[in-house]
């Protein structure tokens, strides 16, 4: 059963939760580096400030692309939390990133271009694994609907350990964490300036930041699905997964795009596909 109420709750509360997650992230990162770090609410101050700034664009179409990025991220997340079809959710999720890439291409700046190309490579790198995750959940619960998966009492993660590890790997790409922060990064000034977001200023950058917050909550919700049989374990898994991402972010240096693509596909192929093949063999074909 789809429940639009949860979708609405997501639309209203996800920016708050996502912003807090980003704030905790920055605080923990600072502590790991021996710094005091910014206040917990710093991401909200940043976005508030961005909306106070002048909107400087190269072409007006950037406004549309930034807005579309936010709107489709919202659609993807709202569909997910309303209990919609996982495949449709992934489709909307990918589409939103395509709008970000188009926005970067529209500005015809060399740094934006490099960022856009790297963003496309990242999409190519993580997409197979995310689709495999959806397929794996279908094989276990016989449904692509989030509403069915979330009420199933089967401990999905025990059936899909390989898929889960593969998902954690692409989560690093998706959260734009080092070593896979290729397309835009706070630490790559000399290389790509700000990559895909170089030419977005003020309110447009603010919209992109808010879209990132929605994305955080959506991705953490995806981890929840693997552990949906028990809510406390699921929340613990989300916390541990996110702390692990922060630790990885602070211990690894940025890699080249070739390595990103290769490692993402090899892990998706090795862990994901083999996991699914074993599951298929053991269950004697699809149950549905």
């Amino acid at each position: 059963m789809m429940s639009p109420v949860y979708g609405l709750i997501y639309i209203l509360l996800a920016p708050i939760a996502g912003g807090l997650v980003a704030g905790i992230d920055r605080k923990i990162t600072a502590r790991m580096q021996g710094r005091v770090g910014p206040p917990l609410l710093q991401p909200f101050y940043d976005v508030g400030k961005l909306f106070e700034k002048e909107n400087l664009v190269v072409t007006r179409s950037q406004d549309l692309y930034a807005l579309c990025y936010l709107v489709f991220m919202l659609v993807a997340g709202a569909l997910f939390f309303a209990g919609g079809d996982l495949l449709l959710v992934i489709f909307a999720f990918t589409l939103s990133h395509i709008f970000l890439v188009l926005g970067a291409y529209a500005s015809s700046s060399p740094y934006s271009f490099i960022g856009a190309e790297r963003e496309l490579i990242q999409i190519i790198a993580y997409e197979p694994m995310i689709i495999l995750s959806a397929v794996g959940m279908y094989m276990v619960t016989a449904s692509f609907f989030v509403s069915d998966i979330v009420v199933s009492s089967i401990p999905i993660v025990l059936y899909l350990p390989g898929v889960f590890i593969g998902f954690l790997m692409v989560l690093t790409i998706k959260l734009r964490k080092s070593p896979f922060d290729l397309s835009t990064s706070h630490h790559a000034h000399q290389e790509i300036v700000k990559g895909v977001t170089t030419e977005f200023t003020g309110p447009n950058l603010g919209k992109i930041e808010i879209a990132h917050w929605y994305e955080y909550v959506f991705l953490l919700g995806f981890i929840f699905l693997f552990f949906a049989f028990s809510i406390p374990i699921a929340l613990l898994a989300i916390a541990v997964a996110y702390l692990l991402e922060i630790l990885i972010d602070n211990t690894f240096s940025r890699v080249k795009w070739q390595f990103t693509l290769r490692s993402a596909w090899i892990i998706a192929g090795m862990l994901g596909l083999i996991n699914l093949a074993v599951l298929y063999y053991l269950s004697g074909g699809l149950q549905a």
Partner: protein, 155 residues
Amino acid sequence: MTYLKRSPWIIHYDASSCNGCDIEVLACLTPMYDVERFGIVNTGNPKHADIFVVTGSINEQNREVVKNIYEQMPDPKVVVAVGICAASGGVFRECYNVTGGIDKIIPVDVYVPGCAARPESIIDGIVKSLSILEEKRTKMNTPAAKKDALGGGIQ
């Protein structure tokens, strides 16, 4: 309540500085001083920056660059000239190729003295510039300024 003062992002440009001041600017980012406590981030991108931190003096090579970076920054924006070279040209002011301080090319809001300027005084200068930034924002939002900005856009 304004968010601008709580989240100043800077862009740092070395205009013919001897690197003395630049080392001190970077020292502000280290765990010792950690300016991220105040929400200050070194963006490296003029289009995301609120504060333009310049070290060193203007010469024939960087005249256009300084102007270009300043023009790429969205309003409201402030300029902080760090070190005596950025303020007046310092010991290099008589050189054949040196035009003088940063204020020969773009309007400077805060001058941070010193050779090299100490991290404490750089942080102090940036915090001082925040109130100027706020002043510029309120001025930007008056009806007269809005009309002006529109007229400027058409030209």
